[in-house]
């Protein structure tokens, strides 16, 4: 285990390559993320952002390149191991456990629960029950924070879209990770709810030092919330910097306009 000094980046992505069916989705992407920052990952459609997320979190293996988290190489580790190391993620299409109660959704997210080994539930029942009480209290507190308390017994699948987003975030909090990758957290979300989510994100960064990397298309959200912006296009990182710098960067404009003009050509032809 490498010793992490305060100044070392929490996430390092180096020369990652990943293709599907012969098409290269991520073509040598590299960047680092500093602890306690909120970074936005932007880029036109097809830039490889989601694929990159999948590679970093272990859902798709990288063909080339390396990813280090908190100094430890995580390339090639399965998703559950990477999550266990403190790197969590949300999904573009909100994934909650539909046929389970909202409360159960939270309870199952608690890490390192002895009761999740079957033997313990039979042989170490008091310890398991104690943990259940502890996480039960935490879960209920979280439900209050997210105004989901009255829904605790409902099936998660019956929640509204916005409530599901909140639940997904609440689950991440139960997990208590060091870093969270959010895949389009604002998509399909009304402004009030969006404000709520962002408030929670900023609060977490401030109180727990949690690092965030999120994919986002809404430039206003990016400008107002990101410390730093990474721009991807055609599988590569083409720019990195402060939001104001990125906004004026000609390469970034080209990437966005270029793809827009390609689309226009296509519709004329």
């Amino acid at each position: 285990m490498t010793e992490q000094t305060g100044s070392a980046p929490i996430l390092e992505v180096r020369d990652v390559v990943r293709s599907f069916d012969g098409l290269v989705a991520v073509d040598g992407a590299s960047f680092t993320i500093e602890r306690g920052t909120i970074t936005a990952l932007i880029g036109p459609n097809g830039a490889g952002k989601s694929t990159l997320f999948n590679v970093v979190t272990g859902f798709n293996p990288a063909e080339h390149g390396a990813v280090r988290f908190r100094g430890k190489a995580i390339t090639g580790l399965p998703p559950h191991r990477i999550s266990g190391l403190g790197l969590a993620r949300t999904f573009q299409l909100t994934k909650v456990f539909n046929a389970m109660s909202v409360l159960d959704n939270l309870l199952v997210s608690a890490p390192d629960h002895p009761g999740e080994h079957l033997v313990n539930s039979f042989l170490r029942a008091p310890r398991v029950r104690r943990q259940e009480r502890l996480i039960g209290d935490r879960a209920r507190a979280l439900l209050d924070t997210f105004s989901l308390a009255d829904k605790h017994d409902e099936y998660a699948g019956e929640l509204s879209g916005g409530q599901r987003k909140l639940l997904e975030l609440a689950r991440i909090l139960m997990l208590g990770p060091d870093m969270v990758l959010l895949d389009e957290p604002m998509s399909g979300v009304n402004p009030t709810l969006g404000r709520q989510l962002l408030d929670h994100i900023h609060r977490l960064r401030k109180e727990e030092g949690t690092t965030f990397l999120f994919v986002e298309h809404d430039m206003d959200v990016v400008m107002q919330n990101a410390d730093s912006v990474i721009v991807m296009a055609e599988g590569k990182v083409i720019a990195r910097g402060l939001p104001e710098e990125i906004r004026r960067d000609p390469a970034v404009l080209e990437a966005y306009l270029g793809s827009a003009s390609r689309r226009r050509k296509g519709s004329d032809g």
Binding site: H80, K95, F97, M100, L175
Partner: protein
Amino acid sequence: MSSFILSLLSPAVLSLDFWISVVLLVGIAGIFSLGIQLNAGSSGLLNVGHVGFMAIGAYTMAILVVDLGVNLWLAILAGIAVAVLTSLLIGLPSLRLRHDYFAIATIAFAEVVRLFAQNARGLTGGNQGKSGYDGAWRAIAEPMSAFFVDLGWTDSHLLPLAIVTWVIYLLTLAGVSYAVRTPWGRVLRAVREDEDAASALGKNVLSYKLQSLAIAAALAAVAGVIFALDIRFLVPEEFLPDFTFLAYAAVILGGLGSYAGVFVGTITIWVLLEVTRFLDLPISSDRIAAIRFILIGLVLIFLSMRKPEGLLGERREMVLRHD
């Protein structure tokens, strides 16, 4: 109405011995179906090869006792162990696959076991059957039987086995339905609902699926061993995929995911099957058998299409489930 139905049945139905044999069979089917509920109901695993584990348990025990002179009780434990090991071997490559591929892999496995039992004649007796393994059981069952005869009950030699079976059944039923309500069971359900989300929360999805499959295999092996002691004569024909399908019918009828449900469903299906065996209709027994299975098929289709939550399941939950 009931007297009309009764008149359709042959008098054999009214005997105590018949009902003891039914109770025994229901107990065996109950232990067997418990595994299906754990797999398909609680874990979302489409294990359609369950009868293969039953056959492995039965035949391993029989071969060890008859060919190697192993003590019956040790052989039973070995049968369960071999079934569990096999489930891990099958599970490792196939549990990562889509649900219907996994289903095919499991049914292929079960048929391989049956074909092996049919063709490895030296080892398994093939279609001629294997017997002679139940000596040690008879040794303790006979005194028990004698005891019941003294009480003036019945001389059915199946009564001791039926009692033992139901003790085991109730214990395993309690154990499994408890396990499903523990934090472990919660992870299992989360894995069923969304594997990616469960992985992202740090759960080792493959490990949980393997555990579910292994426990089910153990249950099937127990059912197989008891079944072997019941019929006293093992033939591969007893381990057709149909038996797994009947368990699914019981699970669906009772309610997918409900352990009270599978209890009720198993009793319903098997009592129906056994009682209708004695329909006193002027047609051949082959055709009566066909009618029984057609009924089961209709029940399956009806439940799947109209009432997937069965008798005791939750409709809302069924609608929301991802499988």
